[in-house]
Structure formats: structure tokens, C-alpha cells
Amino acid sequence: MPLLSPLTEASPMVSSCGGPFVLLVDDDAIGRASIARLLDHAGHSCIDVGSGREALDLCDDRCPRLVITDLCMPGLDGQDLGRCLRDRFPGLALILITAQQLDAGLLGELRNTFDEVLSKPVDCDRLIDRVSHLAV
């Protein structure tokens, strides 16, 4: 059962810079800032929030081109956030980044929801490549 009603159309909103943006979700402020700086340097406008709930609230108003989320977060974790967003915005690109060791079963589940699953420490070139590919 969808947790939120699907929208008929997911139209990318603009960031404060006036263009489409990547939404970054991580409860770890240092990690979030590191990824945001990298994406900014690679030319991607980025809005970052510290929880899954904040991400959902933001997406109600402004739909990003791409959501990058951590897996382990208090409250709504990355997997549940991904499911909510996938139900609500079927075409939205989703990347999961995690420091958790993933067994084959969980990895398979995550790949059903997310376009890309990356382990921390991430391969920076691969992250930028996937963001460039998915955030179009």
C-alpha cells in the first residue's frame, strides 16, 4: 500500500540558485556537507536536510531531480524514505549511500527501490558519474 498518494506528475522544482536541484538526506552533518561540496563542485545545485521526514516535507513542495539518501537514520530511514518517494514520484531518481555492510538479501531489496546503491567510503568518480547521469 502506498504510504503517500502518487502525484500525477513530478515536475522538478528549482533550487535557491534557480535551477533543478539534488536533494541530499543524511543525519550526519559532516558527511552531508562533504557530499554537498563535491556535488556543488561538479556543478549540481544541492539542498541538504538531516532527516527522512524533512526530505518528504520538502518534496511535497518542491520535487528534486534526484534524491541521495543515507540508509541508517533515526526515524524514517533511507529505505523507507526511498519507498515513500518511489510510490509518490515513480520517475524520481534515487541513490542510496550506506556505511552498513549489506547482505545479498538486503542489497536485492534496496536495488528494487533505488537506481544506485553505493557503499561508504564511496568511489567519488562513480558518484559524480551516476549523479550526472541521473540528475538530468
Binding site: I30, R37, H41, A99, K120
Partner: protein
């Protein structure tokens, strides 16, 4: 030859746990949260290093290579500790031990050449059909070679021999100096990882009293 008496520190402690799977499971529980935090911090370091290198104006400078190398050694250490603790159910596949080693030797020789170490292979002429989890064997042996390439003896020769001896396969590395002591302060965590892989195949990793030889052996009959 013995199993772990010559190995100090974390590597030695993990080696001595290989015969006690219950302790490994306990270590895994204790390490999981710790490694999770370390991976988060390492991720921030890696991203910052990547960005700083590109913004430096001289991304090919040798100091960046050293920084990358130091960073990679930390990442490898965490990966090996977690790999050691991960439950290991061997996925057995048919293969030819002789052919498998011969295929890997050129890569190992290239890796060791960076430290002026020569690897002299000496295997039998005939095929050595075997059932093994070849991916896990590769993880352990590649890590061992990479460790010697980074922290092993500064030069010299390592002889690599392999054979079938009655009902066991034996793979032996023999150096002119200790293969256990390192040039830096890094731990050789490839040893416990390799010992765990062998234990999962009813095999053993043994170290010569003078630390100049390491021998892997396992029964030919793997079911």
C-alpha cells in the same frame, strides 16, 4: 610450523580466533557499530581529499599520491577486519589450482616489483583439479601480495610453490627475510582473512618459526 605465535597485534589476535567461530561472531557484533562510524568518517575524508586534490592546481603531485596511499591503507584495514568477521559459507566451484595460480602470478609479480621483490613461481606440470571458493581464495592471496608490495621486505625473492601432496594441496611462500615483520607499523590483516578462508575449507595456514615461510594447506576432498 605454527599458526600464529609469531604474529603480534590485531593480526595475531584475529589469527588465534580462527579456530573459535563463536568468538568471531562476538567480535563482529562489537565491531559493527564501530566500523559503521569509521566508514562515515572515512567517507568524509575521502570526499574532501578528492575535492582538495582537484582544487590544488597540481593534482598529479607526489604528495597527493602519498595522501591517497595513506587513505587507501585505512580503508583496506577496515575492509579486511570486516571481511574476517563476515560469516563465511564457502561457495565451492570446480577449478584447476595449477592454472588458477599461474594466471594470477603475472599480476602478483607486477605488484611486488614496485618494491623490488621478485616472485619466483614453481608449480607442477600437471593440472591440479580442485573444488574451492576461488573468489575468497583470491581475496586472501591478493591482499597478502598487496600487503607485501606495500609493507614487505624492501627487496629480495619470494619463492612460491604449490603441489598436491597425497590428500592435501599445499601452497608455500618462502622469503629470504621475515614475511611477517613489516617495514612500517601496519598490521598484516591479510593473514587472518586467509586463515579464515582456509579454515572454512578444513585447511590451515602455518608460519615457519623464523617467519620466513608461510604454508597454506587444505584437503583435496572438498564436499
Amino acid at each position: 610450523m605454527s599458526t600464529a605465535a609469531q604474529v603480534d597485534g590485531l593480526a595475531g589476535a584475529l589469527l588465534r580466533c580462527v579456530e573459535e567461530p563463536d568468538r568471531i561472531a562476538l567480535i563482529q557484533v562489537l565491531l559493527d557499530r564501530y566500523c559503521h562510524r569509521l566508514r562515515n568518517r572515512l567517507n568524509s575524508m575521502k570526499l574532501s581529499l578528492y575535492l582538495a586534490r582537484r582544487l590544488s592546481g597540481n593534482p598529479s603531485g607526489p604528495e597527493w599520491g602519498r595522501a591517497d596511499s595513506a587513505y587507501r591503507s585505512m580503508e583496506a584495514m577496515i575492509e579486511q577486519v570486516q571481511l574476517f568477521c563476515t560469516p563465511l559459507q564457502p561457495s565451492l566451484a570446480e577449478g584447476d589450482l595449477n592454472h588458477w595460480i599461474e594466471q594470477r602470478v603475472p599480476d602478483w609479480q607486477r605488484a611486488l616489483a614496485s618494491r623490488f621483490l621478485r616472485l619466483e613461481p614453481c608449480g607442477p606440470a600437471e593440472a591440479l583439479p580442485s573444488r574451492f571458493d576461488w573468489n575468497r581464495l583470491a581475496q586472501g592471496l591478493d591482499a597478502l601480495i598487496q600487503f607485501w608490495a606495500a609493507q614487505g621486505p624492501a627487496d629480495g625473492t619470494i619463492r612460491l610453490s604449490w603441489q598436491r601432496d597425497l590428500d592435501r594441496f599445499r601452497v608455500r611462500f618462502e622469503g629470504e627475510a621475515s614475511l611477517i615483520r613489516t617495514q612500517g607499523d601496519e598490521e598484516n590483516l591479510a593473514l587472518p582473512v586467509l586463515a579464515r578462508v582456509l579454515r572454512a575449507h578444513q585447511g590451515t595456514l602455518a608460519i615457519a618459526a623464523d617467519s620466513c615461510a608461510i604454508e597454506l594447506s587444505w584437503p583435496t576432498d572438498q564436499r
